[in-house]
């Protein structure tokens, strides 16, 4: 009769002790299964939601940090900074070397080194169909002229978003949001040479009867108007530079007419009203304006050393910069580790990573809370279980000293005695945990839902107005909009085979730790005591 058979006999022939221990394991098992079930469901809901989001990370200039720094400077120091073009650009502009350090990371699929502008072109934009686009804003743009005089230019809302690329990469093309339905994307050579090429959407092409190889002109009349009012003239080709359509894209993005923002949308916010061109192409079109403004101020301020230094006159290189790069990673779950990893390696305190983590984390707050509660409950239960089972086993051992003595005296090793004790606990534990899997599965779902509802209610009562803050800018368009309802809809407490496996592993772990003290007692047991009458 080996130790395992003895363990079985001990369990079946001492039913009271076995049932009490079974009940202990059953109760522990229920708490653990409910806790792990809820915690897993909360994590899964977050993972599912996160996976449904675009895996994008923006590397950008940290304007808040720069503002903090500049506000700490005296006027003279600030003036010094503005005069030091190299230092100024190093703070405000990303260099290619800066963002190329991330391109070797295997998690990076592609990236957008893209600037975003709004502007007008001499072609029709795709209507949105909201109330706003038919209203005249009646606004004016105000500029300062010489001697403090103000120049007012009637505001005409731009209809296109101009996306300019510094490299021949587009996240939208890589992830299939956009496809080139006709023609092609521009090449690196075209980007480097500021070639007058552009891509437009299928909708705009159709609306204007344009196709690949056709040309259209941009319209800078509005942008240049205030300078013209200063008395500077521009040529027709400068006001309406021509671009060749080399590609037409189709997009899977649509306008959400049910969106809260729909009524306030401008035409340039439509995914169809985008014009793509190389960054230098756009800058070359803006260069006459920038040079004219510089010349004007140089003329107006003959004593100003900055304007009198020809090196400071804008060239194409002056504007060949970028303030943010958006990386597309291969897995949404990589976003956080990616940011955490590179945050520690950032070479400049004026750079930062941006992702839709903040929104995500805010949405996930109730799930984080209940996940935390569940984990705390599991931890408390497991610790208490270990203490209770250790004490119960140690006390039981006291009444079994003679049995241990007999076994040792007839030649059983102490290891075998410990093995019998372990076998007894593990058998009862497995039965208790198996029963708890059944009952715990039934309770976990209800308990999980109740806990979530409670937590959402508590969370709402603490929510501040800041939580509703929502902003739109070029780069953040890449971030997926999520709602808390979407995330919470992914929360389903169910007991999967993996959780059941975890329960059994937890059970074995509890038994293993609980048996440590009794095992030490057995190892220290002096078999001579079997001969004394005190046992």
């Amino acid at each position: 009769m080996n130790f395992f058979q003895r363990a079985i006999k001990n369990i079946t022939r001492r039913p009271t002790k076995s049932i009490l221990l079974l009940l202990t394991f059953f109760i522990i098992g229920n708490f653990v299964i409910i806790g792990i079930g809820i915690s897993t469901a909360a994590n899964q809901a977050k993972t599912i939601t996160r996976k449904s989001m675009r895996a994008v990370v923006e590397y950008t200039v940290d304007y808040d940090a720069i503002n903090e720094y500049t506000s700490s400077l005296s006027d003279s120091e600030l003036e010094e900074l503005y005069q030091d073009t190299e230092r100024y650009n190093a703070m405000y502009n990303l260099t290619e070397e800066e963002f190329q350090q991330f391109l070797d990371d295997p998690r990076v699929v592609t990236y957008n080194a893209t600037n975003y502008y709004i502007g007008s072109a001499d072609i029709e934009s795709q209507p949105i169909g909201n109330e706003r686009e038919n209203q005249d804003t009646g606004g004016v743009s105000v500029y300062s002229g010489s001697d403090g005089e103000t120049i007012e230019v009637p505001y005409v809302e731009p209809e296109f978003r101009i996306m300019t690329n510094r490299t021949a990469n587009m996240i939208e093309l890589a992830d299939g949001t956009w496809t080139i339905s006709e023609g092609r994307f521009y090449t690196e050579e075209e980007i480097a040479s500021a070639a007058p090429v552009a891509l437009i959407s299928e909708q705009v092409a159709e609306l204007n009867g344009l196709s690949v190889g056709d040309t259209f002109t941009m319209n800078f009349s509005q942008d240049f108007e205030y300078v013209r009012q200063m008395g500077i003239e521009f040529s027709e080709s400068q006001l309406h530079p021509e671009l060749e359509i080399i590609g037409i894209y189709s997009t899977s993005e649509t306008l959400d007419r049910n969106s809260e923002n729909f009524d306030w949308m401008s035409r340039y916010e439509s995914p169809y009203n985008r014009i793509l061109m190389p960054n230098l192409t756009y800058m070359s079109m803006q260069l006459p304006l920038n040079q004219a403004v510089f010349d004007y101020y140089a003329q107006q301020n003959p004593d100003d050393s900055y304007y009198n230094d020809p090196a400071n006159r804008p060239t194409l290189d002056t504007y060949d910069y970028i303030s943010s790069v958006v990386f597309l990673l291969d897995d949404p779950l990589d976003v956080e580790p990616f940011i955490n990893e590179y945050n520690e390696k950032l070479s400049s305190s004026y750079r930062m990573f941006n992702a839709d983590n903040d929104t995500f984390n805010q949405m996930a707050r109730p799930l984080d809370s209940i996940g935390l509660y569940a984990n705390v409950i599991v931890a408390i239960v497991v610790v208490n279980a270990i203490i209770i089972i250790t004490l119960v086993t140690a006390l039981t051992l006291k009444t079994r000293e003679y049995e241990i003595g007999v076994l040792v005296s007839i030649g059983a090793s102490k290891l075998k005695v410990i093995s019998q004790l372990f076998a007894e606990l593990i058998i009862i534990g497995l039965v208790g945990f198996t029963l708890s899997v059944v009952s715990g599965s039934l309770i976990a779902s209800t308990a999980g839902e109740a806990l979530l509802n409670y937590q959402v209610a508590v969370d709402d009562s603490y929510a501040s107005d800041d939580d509703d803050y929502y902003y739109v800018s070029g780069s953040t368009d890449y971030f997926t909009e999520i709602t808390q309802e979407d995330m919470l809809a992914n929360y389903h407490v169910s007991i999967s085979p993996i959780i059941i496996g975890e329960i059994y592993v937890a059970g074995i772990g509890i038994v293993l730790i609980s048996i440590l003290v009794p095992s030490l007692m057995i190892l220290r047991f002096n078999p001579k005591r079997i001969l004394t009458a005190s046992l």
Partner: protein
Amino acid sequence: MSTILTLKDISYSYIDGQSKRTILDHLSYEFESGKFYTILGHSGSGKTTLLSIMSGLDTPNSGTMMYEDKVIDQKALHDFRRNKVGIVFQQYNLINYLTPLENVLVSMAETDNKLPKDSKKVAGKLLEQFGIVSTKANRLVTQLSGGEQQRVAIARALAKNVDLILADEPTGNLDTATEREIIKIFRDLTENFGKTVIVVTHSVAVSQLSDSRILLKDGKLHDVDEALNREIESTI
């Protein structure tokens, strides 16, 4: 006859408060195989300590114990208990959630000695030899009388097929009739099966049925001669 167990210069003492208490004092003795020994002694003379050393449950402060020609040192104690010696206790010390048959089977499982393959059948027969019939052999041991439990304990000690049986006051809790039966079993084991039985006892009557009577006195073993016999009969 050959020597089965040799005690050589065994000493055992412990510190009791401020003073050192010597229990066994350079004790030496040779036990021959196939004989029935009884060890007598006053209460507190060290009988239980001596038995715990002889059964491998404890070790002396100094001295050597040998089984046949082999020294039983600390490393060999487990093997000695497992394969060389069977112990019978005053309190029987059967495992109370097991049946007599299972108690014997536990003992048979904890030895490296060669035993017949059908251990259950052999255990049943062994118990029958000691008067534990199959109906009783399959009850819990707590349902047996004291005498029956002690028989099971003897069967358990023998089941490992060892040549040396040590017993600690095996009849201390039994009535006179049962005591006689148990002693008869011990005699039978030595006479018919060549086993060596060493019984520690208070009972002069029991000792008179043994082949050799030894008195533990002043930490040493003394063969009982006429003079000692008179002393025993007057004091123990």
